[in-house]
């Protein structure tokens, strides 16, 4: 088990956003968590990354409880996040943004190889290498955020609402890249999405989160055909 979360509670002062979520991700899986706005999806991802402290619960990464470990240490352990709205470093160049992703990893040969691979995946990033990240379009920033997370060769990639604010064509493209990374590269991905249909299509398993509780879980293919899910979350 790569990631195992037990009874996770997350609260902002007095208001509890996540009421005891339990879920897990196996090595090589692409798992999605879907749910409406405000269901607590981003809170869960941020607490996995260590950006939001959980009120209680256990987060096990490769068997080790990481729930009290600071985020920069989790990053070194191989957890990386593609944050909501990309959050690239605006006044740093595209290349510098990618270099930050490599922070703490000193293997020049491997770095070059990773960068070459990423430039192949996202050619625009090579083209815009010396431009400040703030000058990129929303879609390009999202690509940069993905590349910045991937450049370190993570063991677990957390993806937070990657479809938000992107035009439909780009959403498809980004989802295709994620699927490719998972299938061809064996990258373990935990995806959090409002775009339920698209994430059910690429993921193997899915959790449905509703007001801080996991309501359903199962294989994505089965979920897609479940009339309750179709009606409530897919609007079909």
């Amino acid at each position: 088990m790569l990631l195992d979360v037990q009874d996770l509670h997350i609260a902002y002062r007095d208001i509890e956003a996540v009421h005891g979520a339990s879920f897990s991700v196996e090595e090589g899986e692409l798992v999605s968590i879907i749910g409406a706005n405000g269901a607590g999806k981003s809170s869960i991802l941020n607490s996995l990354m260590g950006l939001v402290p959980p009120r209680s619960g256990i987060i096990r990464f490769r068997g080790e409880d990481i729930s009290r470990i600071p985020s920069h240490v989790r990053a070194r352990m191989g957890i990386r996040i593609v944050p909501e709205r990309a959050r690239v470093f605006p006044r740093l160049t595209v290349r510098e943004n990618l270099r930050i992703g490599l922070y703490g990893i000193h293997e020049p040969a491997k770095e070059k190889e990773r960068l070459a691979w990423l430039y192949e995946l996202f050619p625009i990033l090579e083209e815009r290498g010396s431009q400040d990240a703030v000058t990129l379009s929303g879609g390009e920033q999202q690509q940069l955020a993905i590349a910045r997370a991937l450049v370190s060769d993570p063991k677990l990639l957390l993806v937070d609402e990657v479809s938000m604010g992107l035009m439909p064509k780009l959403v498809d493209q980004v989802f295709e890249v994620l699927q490719h990374l998972n299938r061809e590269r064996g990258l373990t991905i935990l995806l959090v999405e409002q775009n339920a249909l698209a994430s059910l299509e690429i993921s193997s398993r899915c959790y449905v989160l509703e007001t801080g509780r996991i309501q359903f879980e199962g294989a994505s293919g089965v979920m897609r055909d479940d009339p309750r899910i179709r009606e409530a979350y897919l609007g079909l």
């Binding site: 920069h72 990053a75 990386r80 470093f89 270099r99 930050i100 922070y103 703490g104 910045r148």
Partner: protein
């Protein structure tokens, strides 16, 4: 050069060193500090005490001075780990007032009388004064600029920039906020300590009021005017703000008015500072560069 020019030049060089230190903290690491004069003062007082009561030479005291200021900078930088923006600004103002009060009310630091009889810097058997001392200050300024440049090129510099831009995104990339904020405080305050040491041996008499809150505002204005986070901004800022009072000597009565007008014009037309992004200087420079390539 006349004595007058040399004196003004020395002041400007010293203040540029201190402003470069603040630039590391504010410009590179993005931590606001309105109490930088405290570290300027700590550097001046420690060098003064070590060379008078301590009996050391300027040169053997200097490493200790840098260590002391850097260490106190580390301790007083701790609030930056918990506080942000306005709260950090207010806390750093508080630190400035506390440090000045300690100098003023603890007899060890000479109280209101300050410390006098600080020896001159001796280099190759010469007591440095006038032009040679100005050159010494310029040499230290060059060293500080070199250190700043190396810092911006290093992993630590890049990590600080990332923290300045987005702290939580940086920490989820493996950058430790604690480590790099404190690294910036240590480097920035040690530079202020160096400026303080030079100031003490230039003035040869120091008192607590030299290092008060108005001085902090002055140093911050230099950094903002020149361009926060740029390499040469603080030096240019120190040059402009150091020369203005001299140029406008006939208008002494209106000096504060001119400062205010200058700052407002800056905010309106050059919010990034004289050398900041999208500033006139940068635009002209990039146009010249573009023209050469064609």
């Amino acid at each position: 050069m006349s004595d007058y020019t040399i004196t003004i030049g020395t002041f400007i060089a010293i203040q540029a060193i201190v402003a470069c230190g603040l630039n590391v903290i504010v410009g590179y690491a993005g931590q606001i500090s309105l109490g930088h004069a405290a570290f300027f003062g700590i550097g001046a007082y420690s060098s003064a005490l070590l060379t008078t009561a301590g009996g050391l030479s300027f040169w053997s005291a200097l490493p200790l001075v840098l260590f002391i200021t850097g260490f106190i900078g580390l301790v007083l930088g701790l609030p930056s780990l918990r506080l942000k923006e306005d709260f950090l600004a207010i806390t750093t103002i508080g630190i400035n007032f506390i440090v000045v009060s300690v100098f003023l009310y603890v007899p060890f630091f000479g109280g209101a009388l300050g410390i006098g009889g600080i020896p001159r810097v001796i280099l190759f058997g010469e007591r440095l004064r006038g032009t040679p001392f100005l050159f010494l200050c310029l040499a230290f300024l060059a060293a500080v600029q070199l250190a700043s440049w190396l810092f911006t090129r290093s992993w630590s510099g890049l990590a600080c920039f990332a923290l300045r831009e987005d702290e939580s995104a940086a920490s989820s990339m493996g950058v430790s906020p604690v480590r790099f904020k404190l690294a910036a405080f240590i480097l920035g305050t040690a530079m202020a300590g160096l400026g303080g040491a030079l100031y003490a041996h230039f003035m040869r008499f120091i008192s607590a009021t030299d290092f008060g809150f108005p001085m902090s505002v002055m140093i911050l204005s230099m950094v903002v005017l020149g361009g926060m986070g740029t390499l040469w901004g603080p030096v240019l800022g120190a040059l402009v703000l150091g020369m203005l009072p001299e140029v406008f000597r006939p208008l002494t009565e209106y000096r504060m008015f001119l400062y205010a007008a200058l700052l407002l014009l800056m905010i309106r037309f050059q919010p990034g500072g004289l050398l900041g992004e999208s500033s006139f200087a940068r635009q002209i420079f990039s146009r010249l560069k573009g023209g050469n390539q064609e």
